[in-house]
């Protein structure tokens, strides 16, 4: 191959790569998110804050799963942890956005499937200890925390299970 041919091949390859790299999705490409029930989330938030949201775990600003709540990180700059100021509506909203925003596509798939196979979600696998998790297995299949999360993903959060979960160590 002559050097001019080699150069032209290289240029063609580079142009092709640039074309692929700079391509944009079509205007019709949309992701229709199906989110878990937000109305039923407050008891789930209480459970998550108690089980996962301490200041040395997910009650930390740098976490992907960032949880705000009464005994952990506070959302309002004037609130302080553990001062008996209950978890606020803003904090519940932030917690909801945090959980739902972790893996929106997969969460949407789980919700669309009526909560089937929640193990698809990383946060659930981590909670079960199926995936590396510094906090270890904080949820056991069938325990109140598990029921709280899975029923929420199914669209009918079991508030009594979420409340019972607050008594777990």
């Amino acid at each position: 191959m002559t050097s001019s041919k080699l150069v032209s091949h290289l240029l063609a390859a580079m142009l092709g790569a640039v074309a692929v790299a700079c391509s944009v999705p079509s205007s019709g490409a949309r992701f229709d998110e199906q989110t878990p029930d937000s109305a039923g989330f407050p008891p789930v938030a209480s459970m998550l804050v108690q089980a996962c949201g301490t200041l040395d775990c997910h009650g930390t600003i740098g976490r992907n799963l960032r949880l705000y709540g009464d005994t952990g990180l506070r959302y309002s700059p004037t609130d302080v942890p553990s001062t008996l100021v209950p978890t606020t509506a803003d904090e519940v909203t932030q917690d909801y956005e945090s959980v739902v925003g972790l893996e929106p596509e997969i969460t949407s798939e789980v919700v669309a499937a009526g909560g089937a196979n929640p193990e698809r979600l990383t946060f659930y696998r981590k909670a079960l200890g199926l995936e590396n998790h510094k906090g270890g297995a904080v949820v056991v299949h069938g325990d109140p925390r598990d029921v709280c999360i899975t029923t929420w993903l199914q669209g009918h959060a079991d508030a009594s299970a979420c409340t019972a979960a607050l008594t777990l160590p």
Binding site: T54, L55, V80, P81, K134, G135
Partner: protein, 167 residues
């Protein structure tokens, strides 16, 4: 051969002395030096995150599993001396430590290797007792979370209060 030996010695020394974690190094530097007249030991650095240094890393200070400081009030840095701190691991194991003249208490891994989460069952002094609302998820330094001033990310330093309000 001699050069190789020197290189190996230098590498060994560097790995023994140096830390490979610049974040940790920066956090330790930010603590500043020792207080005048207080040598390194059980009474030093009250209110600081003990396990930042006492983490068992090679060449570091002796390892601690749980450590912290109890102060006598929310608005003072006077130590709470002789307070008993009772902790309970996730496996139900309970242990008690007593604060010293600086308000510091600590447990070593050979006496207490906790299974997280840990609960602070009580801090008792003079017959009065306070507890902690949340558990400890994984950091054995009280001051990792209990920093001053209190704010959205910290309840402030740990203190004993006759009102029974948690530290």
């Amino acid at each position: 051969m001699r050069r190789l030996l020197s290189l190996l010695v230098a590498l060994g020394t560097a790995s023994a002395v140096g830390s490979c974690d610049p974040v940790r190094d920066d956090a330790i530097s930010a603590l500043g030096g020792e207080a005048p007249g207080v040598p390194p030991g059980p009474l030093h650095r009250p209110g600081q995150p003990c396990l930042l240094c006492h983490d068992g890393s090679a060449g570091d200070a002796s390892a601690l599993s749980i450590a912290g400081t109890v102060f006598s009030g929310g608005n003072t840095l006077e130590p709470s001396v002789g307070a008993t701190v009772t902790l309970q691991s996730a496996d139900g194991t309970k242990v008690t430590a007593t604060t010293n003249a600086a308000g510091n208490f600590y447990l070593t891994p050979d006496t207490y290797a906790p299974k997280y989460p840990i609960r602070v069952i009580s801090i008792v002094q003079g017959g009065a007792s306070v507890t902690m609302h949340s558990h400890i998820g994984g950091n054995g330094s009280c001051a990792a979370c209990h920093t001053d001033p209190p704010g959205p990310a910290s309840p402030g330093h740990v203190y004993f209060s006759n009102s029974g309000i948690s530290p």
